[in-house]
Symmetry: C2
Subunit: 208 residues, 2 copies
């Protein structure tokens, strides 16, 4: 299972399609056309078909796609056939929201450790998990590797934490700190930057 050159935008849409299919499945729908999927996913039918074509051929001409089969195929493509271990660095409000969101575990992500630099927070139990001091980070990740690390620290310390994680072999990072992280090419980083989203909205409000 290895092809290169799949565009980021394609992968994001696959994830979106999967979410739509889960909705259709819940509604008891058996098959969908690329047209219906596109309408729900906010794109075009040609885009849907092209996106899927990078990975194979999942539909029946004249009929469409089996909802069950296509969602199963997408889960496979996205690597959702297994569980992932997630460590969270930073026990603030957003970290808290992450940890306590139950949909997370349901979707295959297990939060296995939470760290913070604030000694007052260390020892608190969060959803059954003890907040540990960041100084334990290296030892903890060596004992119990994480597949994904979520960075929920202030911007100033984010890069330092990332460097430690990368040195420990972490290959996937979700960054909530408002800084652009520098990592080697073989490490995947995604950014969630609320200030940026708000600013694209204010731009739109003033330029339309």
């Amino acid at each position: 299972m290895t092809m290169r050159k799949i565009a980021e935008s394609t992968v994001r849409r696959l994830s979106l399609y999967l979410r739509c299919l889960e909705g259709f499945e819940a509604q008891g729908l058996e098959t969908v056309s690329s047209d219906v999927l596109a309408a729900r996913g906010g794109t075009t039918s040609a885009q849907v078909r092209k996106d899927l074509s990078f990975f194979g051929s999942f539909g029946k001409r004249g009929l469409g796609y089996s909802v069950r089969e296509l969602s199963s195929a997408l889960r496979g493509i996205l690597g959702l056939g297994r569980r992932y271990r997630v460590a969270v660095i930073g026990a603030g409000k957003i970290g808290s929201a992450l940890v306590q969101y139950p949909g997370f575990r349901q979707r295959g992500f297990d939060i296995v450790a939470i760290f913070d630099a604030d000694t007052r927070k260390v020892g608190e139990a969060w959803d059954g998990l003890r907040v540990r001091h960041v100084r334990e980070l290296d030892q903890a990740l060596r004992d119990q590797p994480a597949d994904i690390v979520a960075i929920v620290t202030p911007g100033e310390v984010a890069q330092g934490m990332v460097d430690r994680c990368v040195a420990l072999g972490v290959k996937a990072i979700l960054n909530f700190a408002p800084v652009q992280l520098q990592v080697p090419d073989d490490v995947a980083v995604k950014h969630v930057n609320l200030a940026l989203e708000f600013e694209t909205l204010t731009f739109a409000l003033n330029n339309r």
Copy 2:
């Protein structure tokens, strides 16, 4: 102030540049080159110059950009010269994290109302603001219009809330619900979808 055809990706980078410049300002730096800004912002110097060129000419050849002047220009371009009124629909964990984040107010965003459908949450005081029942939404937004609405509800009810907001004249929406919202062209929507970010990471982990 009206030019069209500015790419979304350009606007996002402008916001990023502004964040970098704020860092440089805090370090007491007076001028930066497109090279330095690009390095910090995770892009290339040509990209920085091209992005800025859509809005004017802000640098001095041979010298670079005045940190102060460029950040001021970017704030103007992004529409950050005024404050924005934000209403939040959904008083769950993420709504809570939003409301309580102090950087928000500092950046020019005032949260002016919070709504929830759960009568048990209604009446709670959040950061000095009373949680109101969603049935009050229409009246509240008529009395005190919001510039931006953040949707932090379950997916199933998100579209209904958006339709009400759009009918009330809201032109900018930040959506945290994991559904693709349908809105008229003159309404700007940005999506923050954690499941999607996690799934692009699992894809990356399995395809490199």
